[in-house]
Symmetry: C2
Subunit: 166 residues, 2 copies
């Protein structure tokens, strides 16, 4: 739900700092900069930040942290690669395929290949989540007209999804 | 700190269940069995369990959860692969190389290649931590006599390490 790259975020880095990097406040870590969610402006989202926790090239994957402010949402998208997610703080809801679920701290979310997904901080709190992803991955796809029609064939999904035009 | 395999834990599995698996109590998840830490008895440890949170073959890595009961410790070991760790609950200390650090919820720990490491739940609580690791990895090495002598050349490290003979 949070990639705008076809190359790893870690490209050009030489690895992590050995040992401990403390969580200095909820969702903030020593030496980990808070970055924009997307580096392109064509994918709709609202009030999301991105942090790279571990991107060592030896890991085979990247471990990121995304935080959606209250009222915000990640991009509604799908891709061939999978996402392994754990909610870190706050609460909200997520869409995976046609299923909408409540999520809170410690809950696990798996996004299979080519499955529409979106996270919303729509429960009076922020929604911060850890997301592990293969270091080599495809670019996310946004929904086309027909995709949106199919998603909106379900009333609950129609009411849930946000595409930046609300 | 927690591998006794030369092959991925996911061997033979076909992927994760799509969508949400709730954290049912601290350090326990819907559909995630609690397993022994090690499947061999030659590596010393005390009071540790292992859970596989995400092992989908498309992920390139495995996301595990280890929980050390109060007073317990993971195996003192090193390996060529790296570990990306986040403390999930409880508190304790960890050794990475020759550095001993206090750790608590949300703290990040990176274990570089061939670096001695051990986690201890020695602060009056359990120590539960998330650990992400490359799906393809080498077998951990235990310290030989000379390795222990080198570790023990530092008084603090000498007092910290546990090798099952205390």
């Amino acid at each position: 739900m949070a990639d705008d790259h076809t190359t790893p975020d870690s490209a050009g880095t030489s690895g992590e700092r050995p040992g401990v990097r403390a969580q200095t406040s909820p969702g903030r870590w020593e030496g980990v900069p808070v970055m924009p969610y997307k580096q392109t402006s064509d994918a709709p989202f609202r009030d999301v930040t991105r942090q790279l926790l571990f991107t060592d090239p030896n890991l085979g994957c990247e471990w990121r942290y995304f935080e959606v402010d209250e009222g915000g949402y990640s991009t509604l998208e799908r891709h061939a690669h999978v996402h392994a997610v754990m909610i870190h703080r706050g609460k909200g809801q997520c869409l995976v395929g046609m299923a909408i679920s409540e999520v809170g701290p410690g809950d696990l979310v798996f996004i299979p290949p080519m499955t529409w997904h979106q996270f919303r901080a729509n429960r009076g709190d922020c929604l911060g989540f850890l997301c592990v992803v293969n270091a080599v991955r495809d670019r996310p796809q946004l929904p086309a007209f027909d995709d949106l029609a199919a998603l909106r064939s379900d009333a609950a999904v129609a009411g849930f999804i946000r595409i930046g035009k609300e």
